[in-house]
């Protein structure tokens, strides 16, 4: 990679970070969402509140956590609460402006599967399960999703609806009595997608520099809908890239510092 270049993963994470503001209270999933949230915090959204489901509120980690319960999250948090309180007062209580999720499988309406590939009773691959996601998806005021595109991951129909997005589209959420907005943004390594105002189908509204509509379609398992006007996502700035790379470097150094003992797990 040349000095001014960047990877598709960096573009995805930086694009995701831009969707966040200092006014947001963000319930952060691990992985790409966590990186995006912390880049936002270290660049344009210094006052963003990051909450991890381990109970840490207002955390400001110097390195990215490997798990949602790393000590770093607690050490830098404003306050750390119990798990029931986290899910009752903070998530169900309507305090979260953005639930930021990843997905193993995703459909065009933002329904997420992290439970099984195949049949629930006889799965080809047993995934970890929903964890906090089912209620993050329904109780956060809106949901952002970030994932790398692939035809395996972005499918016509998810094998299992772990976390409900817009269901079959349209007003399906309202019909189920869900009052929150649901998936409002999808950021992939190729594009930025927003739900169509009526059908709620994810629609490409911006493509990352150099990406073509054919690229987006080739790595997506459903027939992609493109907006009438599609912008080009601004490339990562020097500051964004440096921030992300420094964060990754600090993370790597910190975790390498955890010396192996070798004898047992």
């Amino acid at each position: 990679m040349i000095e001014t270049g960047y990877t598709a993963d960096e573009m995805m994470t930086v694009a995701a970070s831009r969707a966040l503001t200092s006014d947001d209270v963000c319930f952060v999933g691990i992985g790409a969402p966590s990186a995006a949230c912390n880049i936002a915090r270290l660049t344009h959204a210094p006052d963003i509140t990051l909450i991890y489901e381990s109970g840490t509120i207002g955390t400001a980690p110097d390195v990215l956590p490997l798990s949602i319960g790393d000590g770093e999250l607690c050490d830098t948090a404003l306050s750390t609460v119990s798990t029931p309180e986290m899910f009752r007062y903070w998530l169900q209580g309507g305090r979260i402006t953005i639930g930021f999720l990843g997905a193993a499988q995703l459909d065009r309406f933002g329904n997420i599967n992290t439970t099984v590939i195949g049949d629930y009773r006889k799965p080809a691959t047993r995934l970890p399960g929903g964890g906090g996601a089912p209620e993050i998806a329904s109780s956060s005021r809106q949901v952002y999703i970030t994932m790398k595109q692939s035809t395996r991951g972005m499918v016509e129909k998810v094998d299992f609806i772990t976390s409900f997005g817009h269901g079959e589209g349209g007003d399906h959420r309202q019909r189920l009595g869900v009052t929150t907005k649901g998936p409002a943004l999808l950021i992939t390594d190729l594009a930025i997608w927003k739900p169509h105002p009526d059908t709620k189908e994810f629609t490409v509204v911006s493509m990352h520099p150099g990406v073509t509509q054919a690229d987006v379609q080739a790595s997506c398992g459903w027939t992609v809908r493109f907006a009438d006007t599609i912008t080009t996502t601004p490339a990562p700035t020097e500051l964004e890239l440096t921030t992300f790379r420094d964060l990754k470097a600090r993370t790597k150094a910190a975790h390498a510092g955890t010396k192996r003992t070798g004898e047992a797990v």
Binding site: S54, P84, R126, E135, T261, A264, V265
Partner: protein, 284 residues
């Protein structure tokens, strides 16, 4: 009433074949030493309860000790999937385990209801989520004031809960600090409770509103330094991330798994944990 006891004795006195048992912890303070003792004592037919089954439940499932798993997220934290759990679900090795699967919100509320002596918990959850279709312990309940349909799940009331905590005072009152997770609720919801701690101290000497379990809520307290390894104990030692990565490799293969268990668990003892964290101290 809590008595300080050796871990082997506490596990023997409080766990039985067929029990509903929770070894709880949320990334922080996972009770590895207690779980390994239960494995050494070869309990069977257990219903394992935990929000976040990780390595220790992967080990118990792989050793054929589990009849049923009540859970919300089964993963190797920061690494990926649980290979022994997958082998059981996908291939029935060593045998199939009944799954009662929930969301974190449901499990947290269910433990809370158990601690609160209620038969069930109500919450706004599972809206549109398919778990409600495959788990008969997820029901609806109607608010008598607004008519809103809420989710209901039965309270969790384990026969016994094991947790790891930072310290106990001389009476056996226990302090948990940092990411406290669901441990207080898991202890108070259970019929019996056993806590392993890093150390015994004269006084807890903490904040008035800290998370403390009075000695009379516990059946046994066991001093096992390093007892959470490879997870961490805030203020004592850091997480052994390499061990989690190793587990992915160890658990990938049935024979390798069994060999590793024989050497590191069946042939080991609670005393081994102190050595495992020696290099991780001062990094917590």
């Amino acid at each position: 009433m809590a008595a300080f006891r050796p871990l082997g004795e506490a596990v023997r006195a409080n766990l039985n074949n067929g029990d509903v048992v929770a070894f709880e912890g949320f990334t922080h303070l996972i009770p590895h030493a207690a779980a390994h003792e239960a494995i050494r004592q070869r309990f069977t037919d257990l219903t394992l309860v935990r929000m976040t089954p990780d390595i220790i439940y992967d080990q118990m499932i792989g050793m054929g000790m589990a009849r049923k798993l009540i859970f919300s997220y089964a993963g190797n934290p920061g690494v990926g999937l649980l290979r022994r759990f997958r082998d059981s679900v996908e291939n029935g090795w060593p045998h199939s385990v009944e799954l009662e699967e929930h969301s974190h919100a449901a499990m947290a509320n269910a433990y809370e209801a158990g601690a609160a002596g209620l038969p069930c918990a109500i919450f706004r959850g599972y809206l549109g989520a398919e778990l409600a279709k495959v788990n008969k312990n997820i029901k609806g309940i109607t608010c008598p004031f607004t008519g809103e349909e809420l989710a209901a799940v039965p309270a969790l009331r384990p026969d016994v809960t094991f947790i790891h905590a930072q310290k106990a005072d001389r009476k056996g009152n226990v302090l948990i600090e940092g990411i406290t997770g669901i441990q207080k609720e898991a202890v108070l919801a259970a019929k019996r409770a056993v806590v392993t701690v890093e150390e015994k101290v004269g006084e807890l000497d903490t904040h008035p509103n800290a998370c403390v379990l009075p000695h009379w809520t516990l059946d046994a307290v066991c001093v096992v330094p390093g007892g959470a390894h490879p997870s961490y104990a805030s203020g004592y030692y850091a997480r052994d991330n390499a061990a989690y990565l190793d587990w992915d490799r160890i658990a990938a293969d049935r024979d390798g798994f069994l060999a590793w268990m024989k050497t590191n668990v069946l042939g080991s003892s609670p005393k081994a944990f102190a050595g495992r964290v020696a290099d991780l101290r001062g990094k917590a």
